[in-house]
């Protein structure tokens, strides 16, 4: 417990913490607004004009509403695989069960997102403007995955500097003319890196160990898909806000971009250890 400051009011006497020193901590100020009957959000008395309505009408993003969970991506011999589920969750509620969190930018790049779905839709609009610009100049040159990755880094970092982030963790995957497959991640505060395997959200903890063990840059497609399926399974088993309906995007030099139809994986919930988890544990009684 942190020591609370004491008042020096004569009325209250020494060593007493008075009401004017009851300052809420940041944890209380920043939490999502709690519903309460009769009283406006700003804490004013009922029937008064809410002063926050008179303040700057521009809002800053404080918390996400409809979110997507993890995204998994690996490089393999012919290109990249990016997989994620199709859930748009509203807090704990599994509200939108057919959202596509993979977006095809052009014939050699896919962007996938976890986090706030509406912010991702805005990012899709920005990327669409970029590719239409390419289409307009009509010189056969398309944006490369590296360029799209750099562009998204700048967008995310600049929004973060305005304290109004796009609440997304983005994965950019594709194939480049020279240099082969490309895979990068951009976070909501502008953190970014490229690697042979990239994950966001819960998959960082759940899928990454599997990738470290089994992913190689010269994997065959069969092996890469098996690894992807196993990792998606683990993410569904262990992530509360996920569902058994996935999509995988494949980007290769010859085949371009293909985003699969949603599919389900076989899950087993009858493992003995799930049913009776403490039966053989030491010290169970």
């Amino acid at each position: 417990m942190l020591p609370r400051p004491t008042t020096h009011s004569k009325a209250l006497g020494p060593g007493v913490a008075g009401p004017e020193l009851a300052v809420a901590t940041s944890a209380i100020l920043d939490r999502p607004p709690q519903p309460s009957a009769h009283l406006p959000l700003s804490g004013a008395q009922p029937c008064f004009v809410d002063p926050s309505a008179l303040a700057d009408p521009r809002q800053h993003t404080k918390y996400p509403y409809v979110t997507g969970t993890s995204v998994l991506a690996i490089k393999y011999k012919d290109g990249v695989l990016i997989g994620c589920d199709t859930l748009g969750a509203y807090g704990s509620t599994k509200r939108y069960k057919s959202t596509q969190r993979l977006y095809q930018v052009n014939s050699k790049c896919v962007v996938a997102a976890g986090g706030e779905i509406s912010d991702f839709q805005h990012i899709q609009t920005l990327l669409d403007e970029l590719t239409t610009d390419d289409y307009r100049t009509d010189d056969g040159i398309e944006l490369t995955p590296q360029e799209i990755y750099s562009y998204l880094c700048r967008v995310m970092y600049n929004r973060r500097n305005k304290f109004d982030p796009l609440w997304n963790s983005l994965v950019v995957g594709g194939v480049q003319e020279e240099g082969g497959p490309f895979l990068g991640m951009v976070g909501m505060i502008g953190t970014h890196y490229t690697d042979s395997h990239v994950t966001t959200g819960f998959a960082n903890q759940l899928a990454r160990p599997l990738f470290r063990e089994r992913q190689r840059d010269d994997m065959e497609e069969e092996e890469a898909l098996k690894l992807m399926y196993d990792s998606l399974k683990v993410c569904y088993y262990r992530d509360k806000v996920s569902m058994n309906k996935f999509q995988i995007a494949k980007v290769t030099k010859e085949g371009g971009v293909s985003i699969s139809e949603p599919f389900a994986l076989d899950m087993r919930w009858d493992y003995k250890l799930f049913a009776a988890p403490t039966q053989w544990a030491v010290g169970a009684w």
Binding site: E129, T132, Y135, R136, T137, D138
Partner: protein, 249 residues
């Protein structure tokens, strides 16, 4: 030098006694002296074709584009002064992009051409500006179907089944009137357009390049240059047809 509109043709803000604005007329002349551009609206799309006279052997083939993509569903062919046409095409791009940003939808053809018409017309109103010396043939495929518009230097925008502008426009329009465009597919129309351009140009006898584009169901409702093999086939057919008609003569 005394010409047609002496005294009344110095600025776009002066009417002549018989009600003409000569600057606009002269801008129209600039278009009429350029190489032929034609557009055909068929049952499943629109074809734009432009003839480019090869000014110098040193020019890279395919340079000096006269047909531009404005948005995915809109294309524009320019007749007249090429730099003027570029300015109007850039404006069309701005209009299309801003409409998409505000309404979330690709710009409909009639809205784009009305805006372009107003923009071009503005340059006919002020003493300090000269009218654009370019006519734009606009090919659109929006949710109302395919459409062909022409925006001329006076700012009027009209909708056509088929039209031609430039040097060979009279002969080309005669040929277009003979075609049954409502029953034709874009594939067939490409061949017809190339035939007409060859016929119209044959009277001049100079070397020229063709730039043909289409927007139709076959192109995924996106405006793009006609595939190279289709263009080559159309040119071959056109040359054969010309030789036949020469032999008949």
């Amino acid at each position: 030098m005394s010409g047609i509109g002496t005294g009344y043709d110095l600025s776009a803000t002066t009417y002549s006694p018989d009600g003409k604005i000569f600057q606009t007329e002269y801008a129209q002349k600039a278009v009429d002296n350029s190489s032929t551009v034609l557009g055909l609206r068929c049952k499943d799309g629109v074809v734009l074709a432009s003839e480019k006279l090869v000014l110098s052997k040193l020019l890279v083939e395919g340079s000096n584009r006269r047909i531009h993509n404005i948005d995915r569903h809109v294309g524009v062919a320019v007749a007249g002064l090429a730099p003027d046409g570029r300015m109007v095409a850039n404006r069309a791009w701005d209009e299309a992009a801003s409409y998409k940003r505000v309404y979330g939808e690709p710009i409909p053809g009639h809205v784009l051409c009305e805006r372009l018409g107003s923009y071009v017309h503005m340059f006919n109103l002020y003493w300090s500006l000269r009218p654009y010396g370019a006519t734009m043939l606009v090919a659109v495929y929006d949710k109302n179907g395919p459409a062909l518009y022409a925006v001329d230097p006076s700012g009027s925008s009209m909708r056509y089944f088929g039209t031609a502008v430039g040097k060979g426009r009279q002969a080309a329009k005669n040929e277009i009137e003979k075609l049954k465009l409502a029953d034709m597919s874009c594939r067939e129309a490409v061949a017809e357009a190339v035939k007409i351009l060859h016929k119209v140009n044959d009277e001049e006898g100079k070397k020229f390049e063709l730039e043909v584009s289409w927007i139709c169901d076959e192109s995924g409702k996106q405006h793009q240059r006609v595939p190279a093999d289709l263009l080559a086939e159309a040119e071959r057919q056109a040359k054969a047809a010309l030789e036949d008609s020469d032999m008949d003569d």
